[in-house]
Symmetry: D3
Subunit: 290 residues, 6 copies
């Protein structure tokens, strides 16, 4: 039997990844102390790998494909084929940014001011490449963690990841510049991407993952509408969605069924009701494949 070797990111994204897979219809369980999660598809073999190392092992064929951040692909310089961008995050759906940050009262206000300074970071290669692009020479030190508490005693500046900037602000740091914006990617080994069976397997998997992601934050809405009010009601629904309109036994009425963004529900429902919709019911969805 053919098997697709799939790398899943260990650590902070692990549970969110498993949730996404579960919504997509794949049951993943993490046996304690094992790095080989069980999955209910015998054609998939999963391995938990640090996001930092995913590029390396997909590139050398130890894995056929994997999920990891765009940042770590760039940092590792790994040669992999990107098949999809996946936006999911427990805390938010915003992409993360790697920024140059300095103490609030620092004299550093741009790349040029870094000449000869000490910079602590987990992404040494991204930082060095960015400095080279600005023609600046500085001492870039690998940071094993807690980077944001290092300035000013242990570093003059840092390059650190942030989503909201809260942690930087809490440490009295000021953002000077953004080096890289990053989201989660599904990457494949270039040869695996050319193998027909593996590629079909990856495409089916991505179809389901996208279907699950599309359903997050969406809800179903059904309502009954008198035919004279139909145009008015449809006018209130988001233009790009194509609602299903079905006849009812009572021929004066039709049923309208549609999918809308959960966070627009509260704006649209008052308008639908005003436009003549009745018996409006919102129901949950688990997958949407257009």
């Amino acid at each position: 039997m053919s098997v697709l070797k799939l790398g899943l990111p260990a650590g902070s994204l692990q549970e969110a990844t498993a949730d996404l897979f579960r919504k997509a219809g794949y049951k993943i369980t993490f046996p304690s102390r094992s790095y080989y999660p069980a999955i209910d598809d015998p054609e998939l073999h999963c391995t938990l790998i640090r996001a930092q190392e995913m590029g390396r092992y997909v590139a050398d064929g130890s894995l056929d494909c994997g999920l990891t951040g765009h940042d770590w692909i760039v940092e590792s310089g790994a040669h992999v084929t990107e098949l999809a961008e996946l936006v999911f995050s427990k805390v938010s759906r915003r992409p993360v940014k790697w920024v140059l940050a300095v103490p609030n009262d620092s004299d550093i206000h741009g790349p040029k001011d870094l000449q000869g300074k000490r910079i602590a970071t987990e992404v040494v290669n991204i930082t060095k490449s960015w400095l080279a692009g600005h023609g600046v020479s500085a001492q870039v030190e690998f940071s094993w963690g807690a980077t944001e508490v290092k300035p000013p005693k242990f570093a003059d500046a840092i390059v650190e990841v942030t989503e909201t900037g809260n942690s930087l602000r809490a440490n009295n740091l000021r953002i000077v510049d953004t080096l890289l914006t990053s989201t989660t990617r599904f990457v494949a080994n270039p040869q695996a991407a050319l193998d027909p069976w593996k590629r079909q397997k990856m495409d089916d998997l991505l179809l389901m993952l996208r279907g699950a992601m599309a359903a997050e934050g969406k809800v179903g809405l059904m309502m009954n509408v008198r035919k004279p009010d139909l145009a008015h009601v449809l006018n209130k629904l988001p233009a790009l969605k194509n609602p299903t309109i079905s006849p009812l036994a009572d021929q004066e009425w039709v049923a309208v069924n549609t999918i809308i963004d959960e966070d627009t529900v509260r704006h649209i429902i008052p308008q639908l009701k005003a436009a003549g919709a009745s018996g409006i019911v919102e129901y949950p969805l688990t997958k949407i494949i257009d």
Copy 2:
């Protein structure tokens, strides 16, 4: 941008309130140690306030509106406009009652027996006003908590809140009379209620809150019915609900879709099946706006 200042009750109702708002489509999060919950609507500004103080701050305009108990509005004597009654509670949906309770073996059997006695309570004003209505004079002491353990050593009687009476019984207390029945209310500052923008904002919010509350304890039911059985099947459904009947490709059959109370499902389904319904499917709902 206009902003509506909304007070949410801190403490035991806090999580239940946030759940209700989430079901209504508003994401509320409580930053640790902050009394300003985040909400994903920039036109709303939330503040956590003790239920006891909500009336005072809505009345003086520090807040435009808020959720609190009818009891604390009465106790504080605050001048506010009540816009809606909201019935939600983690433990039960029954309203709470403020009752006069005494030890099982007490000689007190009615208001008149309280003359000259010590009464401990958190609602000093409600109690005094009730005593005055009965022409009785007694010593009413503010209780900082654990009121139900005070009789007979620290008080002769108490006025205490209860839902089921369990806690009173467990402390060997007997209910003599009910002073007030209370549910949660949505109250507004009288001037804010006259401001067109604020009033529309509050009405839309209430429409969504009511839609979410209506869906709690309700489920959707869909089934296929042969046309000759339709009248029989419809006869088994609760009279006041208007089911949606839609044609099917197979013209001998119709589809019936309706909303019923979750706790009647187990009585109705056996009857529907006996009346000829087939393929009965129950599905969950998140909002109902009639």
Copy 3:
């Protein structure tokens, strides 16, 4: 008012049983330290009883009916009427097996090798009856627990329950034979099963329990299909399910609504899409009564 006395299994199955009842529409709560769970149906009176004793108390009429394992009915030799087999389990849906197990390096390879040996087990009667069937005489000792750690020091062999065999393997034990396969059963006192009111009550309860079990692991799928593609799309759906096909306002299209196994979704959706289905939406179900 008539009351049906229902026994629920205390211990490891307790929460799973309550979950099943909740999905079936019955709210069960466990007051702390009480063996009489509350249920929101005044015609049912529940008692928590150890699975091992359920047969005894249903047989002698202390209870009208109850849920317990087939194994304990056999072990107790109780005279009860089995009304239904219920397959539910938190960990898996596989039935449990009582097996004869010995140390990996034991000389015991079949029933005959047990002559004169010490066997530790919780099911002394099942074991003795099985030994007698093989004409073997051995010393069967009741084990109060931790049976799987007894060989070889405290027993030569054990008869122990297992679902996956993992615990036996972890204790270096080898399965020699299977004595009994067991699932959960709904059993009734023979006279209660003949009482019309009690029997109707039990049948309605079983209808709802089966409806809830049928919905576990199933999802609803709805999609729009152009009429020319309909045969092709229907061809991809599992044969035995009869999808609901309903007309749409746009007469070139029909809506298809069906129920499928959750773990086949990921195989079927890519095929449906390829066959021409559009706007495929998956939604959750809570009960299915065919």
Copy 4:
């Protein structure tokens, strides 16, 4: 190397036993899912065994010795040699009692009233033997647990273990008679008790266990006393203890050092101070061997 096979009671006494051993100077750790606790003495090999089965396995030589309750030795009828009584218990130091209990409103007031009744108990043999002693014939049923909730529906009376009687009272049961009083015993296989090496090993172990138990609830007290006050101070100390009196550099004073019960400290210290003791210091102890 010689090894002593020691059984430790699994379950409710397990942690209390390990605590006692730790205080006695033996470090016991419980590897998860193993029934062979690790101990830092290579001459001891520990096994966790249910208290109910300890007698059986010590009697047949599977174990050399073990700790278990007197009740389970009697119930199992095992032939073992009792070497010591050990009184330790997390909740209290009172021995447990097995009592006959009936509903408060039962007609049963003595053994004779049990004729023909149903009795549920975990100690079937003790109960049958006691009934036989009273010339009474009743139906004794083995109870798998929750025995105290069985009367009156599932049994007329129970024989159940109790320390304080609280649980019986909470279930509206009344104690009719006491069948057996039980404490923890250290029992040995009769032949192991005659083996010189094993006996010496057991005696040394018991010396340390007793030293640790003696120190529980005891404290050290030291104080300085002027010689003229010495007789007066000594007079206040418990008679049976022999305090250490040592000279000080200042020849008018002596130091007194003694061991007293922790719960008498609060009565004795005020008296010692009044009698002239100064600089009274209480310090903790971990072992006392007289």
Copy 5:
């Protein structure tokens, strides 16, 4: 038997109080849901009472004595006899202060600036009395909690309790003045304090509580010293402590035993060693009565 009715403060000080009593030799346990803690002295009867109400109930004789803060005695205006000040606190041993605090950018810089302002506080009487002392008239509102988040929207200033000022600073508040400094007090009903039996019982209890508090933060130190070095070593010990010097069998040496503050140990030990002390051993203490 005579009984002393003792009030213990419910809430944040409850566990710290019980710890202190346990160290003093009294075992207190809190039965769940009961306000009557069990204590192993039949002559004491304990009741948990809010610190705010302790004064009221000690003053009216419902209790003979109790522990509460000086602040709440002042606030309640209760007539009680103070027998002792007890300094114990989980977090720190510093007394708490009630301070007037305002937003950092407020115009209020002293009592006079409060004229006509809104002040929120839990100590309405203390605040009003302090304002009167400064001849200032302001609106003092009772705050049910979360007082520190009220300025500037819900109050212009607050009177709030603080130990370190951290919580005030975190809410951007500035301390303007201190109204009251408070520690825990042992207070008695004036008549109970004159009753000989009750007074003796309270004095004995206070002796033990003080002994336990004296031992907190103290350790015992013993060492051997050659006689010629003795003066030098003693010179390094805190002057006010009187060490016990005892002869040894080896007449060139003496043993020195003393009690010192735990947080001076690290300064003194290096000096003792330099002065010739050897075999220095530190050991723990549980009670000290001088």
Copy 6:
């Protein structure tokens, strides 16, 4: 005021380090989300730093001194002065080892077999230097974690830290060689070690840390002995300890006070008792400075 900048290892050793400091008399607390632990000595300023980076920051003077593993000092190549070896560990007191490990069935049996292989490790420099010493060339890859699960798919061999070898065995790995044995060290910046005030401060701190470590696993033992038995009793005590012998009021007896290893107590006490010691009491210690 002079201040000593002290680095403490963040992460797995953090709590153990704080425990050791607390036993030595320094109260360390970790404010949440801060990397600057509070300590009750104003002359010490603590910073939490990853063990891997401690050498770097002590060498460049960002810190005066710090605690870290010998392994990370070697890996970083930092120029620091080692002042003491500190042996403390929650799990054990054994030093850790960095070992070369390969799959059980690997062909690699010595350094020479590594030629051209992939080695994953967190200590890239130690590994490269060791390979160079053996004249072997291999591909050494930095491992971000979970190194022990990498062979054979992601590496041919690993260099990993181990205390007991359990984790390696659980991953079916075999130890081929040991590269480095490591314990915790107290290291100083070379210039700080020459500064008189800083050096004295470090020496005093080390004296207290050593005193606390010496007391771990030791207990005090005191007993009374008749003079004729004294030689016999002393003979049973460990030779290297010098017990304190003091006279008693009863001149036939002396008191003996000594310190012994906790894990020898159970062997020595039976012998002391046999030799004539009476009233043997064991008591706990917190610090020993010889």
